[in-house]
Amino acid sequence: MTHNTQVSFLALALGMTFGLGTMVLVFYNGVILGAVCFDYIRDGQGIFLAGWLLPHGAVEIPAILLASQAGLVLGHALLGWNSRVPRSERLRSVGPDLATLAGGAAVFLVWAGIVESFFSQYHEPVVPYAAKIVFGVIELMAVVYFFGFSGAQHDD
């Protein structure tokens, strides 16, 4: 969990490399995660994997994505394609957005950390897999709802 926290904020900070570092980091982490999942599923341990990773992963992965989004926003502000505004002005305008994204990622990570410490590590028979998977799915739906439907409404 601390590793994922460090990864997410490193992804944000690597936005200073014009976003290249962020993309590399996210790709690398995706590959690792995908490889681990593939290994478990091929071994027939899919349900165990879902019960283990879903409760905190449903929130932690979006947190990493949020932070890397912030990194890409920073990289975009640095690059400044199609913009006549000087670089310092671009950075000034994007600063509060970055802080908001970082704060959101931090909140997600804290929640994921709590869930991971006190819930995810109790496997069968203490906590049934179904309960954990349902919990994870509910979390995922909440995250999707939050990103999809909350916030300012645009009357287009």
Binding site: F9, A13, L91, G95
Partner: protein, 254 residues
Amino acid sequence: MTTSAFEYLQIRTPEAIEFRIPLAGPVTRMLALFIDLCAISVITGTLQKVLGPFLKADSIAGLLMLMGFVISVGYGMACELWWRGQTVGKKIMRLRVVDMEGRRLEPSQIVLRNLLRFVDQLPAFYLVGGLVCLASSKRQRLGDIAARTVVIRHEDPFTPDLEQVLGGKYNSFLEHRRLSAKLRDRVSPALAGVALEAMLRREELEPQSRVALFSELAARFRAEVEFPAELTEQLSDEQYVRNVIEVLYRAPKA
């Protein structure tokens, strides 16, 4: 890269007032960082000691690691938010984080520059940040560039102790308001500083040098403003300079 000892931040406000503030170099900032790291380790150590007995071994390890991580990042943010751009280390080294254009420091700027420590401390011990700071024209590391901040050092303003110099004697120059104002207008701060230094150290000078120095200073001041002859003919050069210093450094009564 420049070779001057200090870099200065030049700010020109819309009212055409210019500020020149000295910037902090990477070495001073590194020293402040060491002090901050000590403070952070003290905080994490006390937290570990205090909370250790209360929580079970398993979950505590992860929680403590997270707390240590949060504190190391949050310490900078909290200190700089609370103390308007200073942490404990920066206070001791007399540095301060300010906005690049002299505006008010926004919280998002502080959050951003502390979050970007992750890339500044790569590969180890702030190597990337230090190199960028050295090479940057305003001594900014990557976090400063993104957040549009700079780190300045406070110059101690030298407030001269006038009483030991002036001794409370009557100064006829102060009566002549217009000439006094002209003197204040004409004399540069550097010259006033030199005269004050000479006055403060007059006892330590050799007698001949002392006479020569004060006659030269008096001649310089006479070249700027001519006070009426009946006042100055009875004054020695040293007394003349003493009067001039009082005119320059005493705030005029309204």
